[in-house]
């Protein structure tokens, strides 16, 4: 582990990857057309979400189904902070917004930070009831939480404009923002994973009772993973709101979580590299598979348009991956481990 030469080599590789990522962000914003830039923006946001979801779900092994809730909170906080007073009075139809909702106004940077912080604070307070239960119970409780957030968003028209959602959000998100935050999120989460907390998280995943017996405060470790992941999910939600320019409760159904779950499972639960590769594959695949929803004319076979066919194929892919390639692409390995293995083989 503390072999000096590998350590520096690793650092050079890391630095190379970071510089490439920054260069790509700049290059893409300059060169690609609007459609491509939009997809890359989406990919960058989903990298943030997938990598942070992976921290709690893959690295710490706590099967939670909450991202849609935290992403929704982040999106709503950013939307409320960005839409100006007149815009709100104009579009809030069902009930007039509360005075404090009208008064709150910041720039994009602070809107993102606040989205993250509010989401993280909620996660912190939630972790007390939520982590009293383990395993499957955790899945259902967190699923219920995401559901409750959506119900609250629908039933608080004074804040969220109810089921109509908030429109005309200024489109601040561009590749510098999404790419920049994505690079920051990946680095931050990798740093956590390779710190002593990260090791504790993996210990909790592998055997919670043993980890506890070794003196690890499992509750603290789980809460740390949960809160960190909620922070980045909130920020990701904010970026998403400022990219889409309109949000509504329907955006944050369980499908959102399901998509992230597929991403991290295909990439390999527990691998940050896997989460990134999974995001690129799934997002590109979702774009590519749009043809499934349209009428098909292939070798004499004609079918009508079947909107939703994409989702059926997606569900099948998830089942097949689970049945035949349970470890996903990367397993629990990171990029770093791949280099190591090569060396050992030589």
């Amino acid at each position: 582990m503390i072999n000096d030469s590998i350590f520096t080599k690793q650092r050079i590789i890391n630095l190379g990857i970071i510089i490439t990522a920054i260069w790509f962000t700049w290059f893409a914003q300059q060169v690609f057309d609007e459609y491509t830039v939009r997809i890359i923006n989406n990919v960058a946001i989903f990298i943030i979400l997938a990598v942070s979801y992976n921290l709690i779900n893959g690295v710490t092994g706590q099967f939670s189904l909450e991202p849609n809730g935290f992403v929704a909170i982040g999106a709503y906080v950013t939307a409320i902070l960005l839409v100006d007073k007149e815009g709100m009075l104009y579009q809030y139809d069902i009930s007039d917004p509360y005075p404090w909702v009208l008064a709150l106004q910041t720039n994009f940077f602070w809107a993102l930070i606040l989205s993250g912080i509010i989401s993280a604070l909620l996660a912190l307070s939630l972790s007390f009831p939520v982590f009293r239960v383990r395993g499957d119970y955790l899945a259902i409780v967190t699923l219920g939480f995401g559901f409750i957030i959506r119900i609250l968003a629908i039933n608080s028209p004074e804040i969220t404009n109810g089921s109509l959602g908030i429109n005309d959000i200024p489109q601040f998100s561009n590749l510098y923002w999404t790419g920049g935050v994505a690079i920051f999120a990946v680095l931050a989460i990798l740093n956590i994973i390779y710190s002593k907390y990260g090791r504790a998280m993996k210990a909790v995943r592998d055997d919670e009772d043993a980890a506890s017996a070794m003196g690890i405060n499992t509750f603290k470790v789980k809460t740390l993973a949960f809160t960190t992941s909620a922070f980045f999910e909130g920020v990701g939600g904010g970026l998403l709101a400022a990219l889409l320019t309109s949000i509504s409760p329907d955006l944050f159904t369980f499908f959102f979580t399901f998509q992230l779950l597929i991403i991290i499972v295909i990439g390999g639960l527990g691998s940050t590299t896997g989460a990134i590769i999974g995001t690129v594959m799934v997002m590109a695949g979702l774009e590519w598979m749009r043809f499934l929803d349209e009428p098909i004319n292939f070798m004499g076979i004609h079918t009508d348009a079947l909107p939703g066919m994409r989702m059926v194929v997606f569900a099948l892919i998830l089942i097949v991956v689970m049945l035949f390639a349970r470890e996903g692409l990367m397993g629990k390995k990171e990029l770093k481990d791949l280099f190591k293995k090569k060396k050992a083989n030589k």
Binding site: G61, F63, P129, R132, V133, G135, D136, Y137, A139, I140, V141, L143, G144, F145, F147, I148, I151, L152, I154, N155, F254, F258, L261, V265, L269, L306, P307, G308, M309, M311, V312, F314, A315, L316, L318, I319, M322, L323, R326
Partner: protein, 298 residues
């Protein structure tokens, strides 16, 4: 609120609760044996309702025969699901099973949306189920009596199977230790299939009752009901069949009573089950009937 309305709400609560209970039993039995939240269970309920719809609206079969066919086919679907998706993962980590279950649920919902269409269809409720009669000024429909009654009979039937038959003993044994049961010469996979068949059959009955009470069917109808039924199973103490029934009635009554007393809370009605779930888990992490979780599962 006068006594009349109160009685009326009680009838409604009883009817709603028994439907949750029917579905919760399947969750609790599968969990007791495999330790798996079968996320696709709510969708089996939807499939059951759709099968009944097809037999009635397309083939014009009489209602009782429809129910019988739909329930049998749903039971077969449950067994098939276990064979294809869960059996290969018996030795796998639980999280893989859980993810597969979510995948199946998503597959069923979307396949039905694609091939049947997402628009709700009117369920052809037989006229004798809709007949209304009055007892002491409280109005009942035939279905509001039949639903809880049939539930009660089915519950007793399930308890009989579990405690008085050899298969029931095998199911209970399985919930302790699958490997040992195999060593004793019992075909564990066969028994697990039986559990899926029983659970899916009950879910299908629940789905058909649901379609009778809220006369429409659509591919997503099982999602929310399934989740609430699962919440009911956990509230009652997962693994316990009587607990599931109790939990079903508690969730059903809460929903009906809260809306009756506080109509302005109507928008939140779908969230009650989960709030209740979180509260119960806070004070009693194994649910109401789940005290000796390690000793007995049913």
């Amino acid at each position: 609120m006068d006594i009349l309305t109160f009685m009326q709400q009680m009838v409604n609560g009883f009817s709603l609760g028994s439907m949750y209970a029917l579905i919760a039993i399947g969750y609790t039995m599968v969990y007791g044996v495999l330790r798996l939240i079968n996320f696709a269970h709510g969708d089996i309920m939807m499939v059951g309702a759709f099968l009944a719809y097809t037999f009635m609206a397309v083939f014009n079969l009489p209602f009782p025969l429809t129910v019988l066919l739909a329930v049998t086919l749903s039971a077969a679907l449950g067994m098939l699901m276990d064979k294809i998706a869960y059996k290969p993962l018996r030795e796998a980590p639980k999280i893989s099973l859980l993810i597969t279950a979510i995948g199946i649920s998503f597959f069923l919902e979307n396949a039905f949306t694609v091939f049947v269409g997402g628009v709700p269809r009117a369920f052809p409720v037989p006229s004798y189920m809709e007949q209304i009669f009055t007892v002491a000024n409280v109005t009942f429909s035939v279905s509001s009596i039949t639903v809880p009654l049939v539930t009660l009979i089915l519950l007793l039937g399930i308890l009989y199977v579990l405690y008085k038959t050899k298969y029931g003993m095998a199911i209970r044994a399985l919930s302790f230790d699958i490997k040992t049961v195999n060593l004793m010469g019992i075909d564990a996979n066969m028994i697990i299939s039986l559990v899926f068949a029983l659970g899916s059959a009950l879910a299908a009955v629940g789905g058909i009752f649901w379609a009778v009470n809220y006369p429409s069917v659509e591919p997503m109808m099982g999602v929310l009901v399934g989740l609430k039924a699962f919440a009911a199973a956990v509230v009652g103490g997962i693994g316990s069949v009587t607990g599931a029934v109790l939990g079903g009635f508690i969730i059903g009554f809460t929903e009906v009573v809260v809306i009756a007393f506080f109509p302005e809370m109507g928008g939140y009605k779908d969230a009650f089950a989960f709030v209740f779930l979180i509260l119960v888990l806070l004070f009693k992490p194994t649910g109401i009937m789940g005290e000796d979780l390690e000793k007995s599962r049913f």
